[in-house]
Amino acid sequence: MNWVGLQMLRNDRAKFAAMIVAVSLAVFLMQNQAAILATMLSMTAAQIRDVQDADLWVTEPEVECFDQVKAMRDIHLLRVRGIAGISWAAPLLKIDAIGHSEGGRLNTVTVLGIDDASLAGLPHRMRVGRADAIRELNTAIIDPGGHELFFPGEPFQAGRSLRIRDRRIRIMGISDIAAPFTGLPMLHTSRSTAAALNLGEQHMTSFILARSAPGSRPEALCQKINALGGLRARTTEQFAADAMWFYGSQGVPMLFMITITIGLIVGAAITGQTFLMFIKENARPLSMLKVVGTTDRQLGTMILLQGTVVLVLGSCFGSGIAAAVCNLIRTQPFLRSLYLPWEIALGTCLALASVTGIALYASYRHVRGLEPAAVFTPAIVTCAA
């Protein structure tokens, strides 16, 4: 009888298509919005996670995220290095400055000054050039979005320069780091060069990057550093989570959740309503099936199968469109970090299935309530299930 149910569904092409389109659009809308939200949140922690050689971040106690900079006294670096179990610790200087390109383009840039000796925090993946070329004074590497901003439409290549605070900074390569949340160009340079751009400031350390020695637990080291007082140490993932929470608690996710919820409600409502209409319009054939001895269980299985087919097809189409759009968008340098996690794809489909399941259950109750004897009369009547 399941086959009969599928044939009935296939035969009503208008409703079948309407339900698939509704599910597809709802899934696409939810996945697209959820992917943008997830990407935005991950971007708030991107610069933290991009530093792969350190597993500990030490900041001033008030700092919540990478974009909050409070200069640290140099003595703190020595205090951290003095903790048993710390393999190494290195300073990281972060400043914002105005950059000018040769072509006259102007933009605020984020400059990251990396410890000259250890190069701790240097990008590990490069699109063009070598990262360690920044050892040379007044050189830097720039991220793809920054390159596009300063040199729009031009191919990625080293050798160009930017003017920052009256210094000419030569671009030695294009890094392959994740796009930053701020959207500002990211310039990695040596701490010496960055310090020269930060004239007038007394302290030249924004973060302390540290690595736990083999056999030491990073969490335990964080506790030791925090016990020193005046410092806040976190593992990379703790700091990333704090950064995401900091931005996530500021209302933007709420806006996305509203859109996602609307997508869910509208998609489920259209799908459910259309499915219920499909069932109601097939009341007479379904009554006939009951008269000839089809059990409620068989009819319930038919309805479940019909609903499942609609949801699976719609989810596949919707997810496919969402993935295609995501891939299209991420070709833009500024939006290169956009991604669609499989958890979101699965979660949105399951959410829609759960809500649409209510309509399926209502349809089943409707069918159970169909009075089979009504098939003998011109009008279908129902009784309470």
Binding site: M1, M8, P285, M288, G293, T295, Q298, E371, T377
Partner: protein, 251 residues
């Protein structure tokens, strides 16, 4: 065969009402009615006299308010709902006024529905239904959809659906009402030749007097009661029982 053995349908004191208090409507008012095996019985009467309600009660689709219905010695009212559905699936066939064919299925697939409901594999069920349609004169139309068939052809498909699982009682509700006279005659001829069998009863509800001559027995109903039972013109049962049969219902 004893008189009791020959009984297919036995109704005693059937009463059925809808609604309560001021809205209470007595539809059946103590119906005593019997249909014997091998008979083509007509139940006739004016609209609203309770014919459809009576066949719904006989088929186990409606509960009685009082009285008993026995089908081949089985009391449907005493069966659990699920058993009643299975009994109906195995022993009853239905022909409806408006055919009630599924537009999504071909003629053969429509005719195979009772077999599919009983769990017969699709290929086998459709093959059996197609063979039956062939014997009913629709061999060339087994792959046609209902919208591609005339009213008479659709009713023949409905007849095949009622016969395909070899039921012991066939209930027909106004089978000729939607057909012109010639087509109605043809359908009734087919019904009489294909459905009637010594171990099977056929109960036809109709008020199409043009086809009364097909009946073995005609029960007249009015105002919720059987008012008169009279023999039809096909009283020579030996003639039709001895005629060529297209199906052989299992005992």
């Amino acid at each position: 065969m004893t008189p009791l053995d020959s009984t297919a349908v036995h109704c005693t004191g059937i009463r059925k009402h809808f609604g309560e208090d001021d809205a209470r409507v007595e539809v059946l008012r103590g119906v005593d009615y019997t249909v014997r095996r091998g008979e083509l019985s007509f139940l006739v009467g004016p609209s609203g006299c309770g014919k459809t309600t009576l066949i719904s009660v006989i088929a186990g689709l409606l509960e009685t308010s009082s009285g008993e219905v026995s089908l081949f010695g089985n009391h449907l009212a005493r069966m659990p709902h699920s058993d009643r559905v299975l009994f109906r699936r195995s022993h009853l066939g239905f022909v409806f006024q408006q055919y009630n064919l599924l537009q999504a299925l071909t003629a053969a697939e429509n005719a195979a529905i009772p077999l599919l409901a009983a769990g017969v594999r699709r290929r086998e069920a459709v093959d059996r239904a197609a063979a039956l349609l062939d014997r009913l004169g629709l061999g060339s139309r087994t792959a046609a959809y209902p919208r591609q068939l005339s009213g008479g052809q659709q009713q023949r498909v409905a007849l095949a659906r009622a016969l395909v699982h070899e039921p012991r009682l066939i209930i027909c509700d106004e089978p000729t009402a939607a057909l012109d006279h010639a087509t109605g005659e043809a359908v009734m001829e087919l019904l009489a030749s294909a459905a009637v069998h010594p171990d099977r009863a056929v109960l036809v509800v109709t008020h199409d007097s043009r086809v009364f001559h097909f009946a073995d027995v005609i029960a007249h109903m009015d105002d919720g009661q059987i008012t008169r039972v009279e023999p039809g013109r096909r009283t020579d049962t030996a003639t039709h029982l001895g005629s060529s049969r297209l199906t052989n219902p299992s005992a």
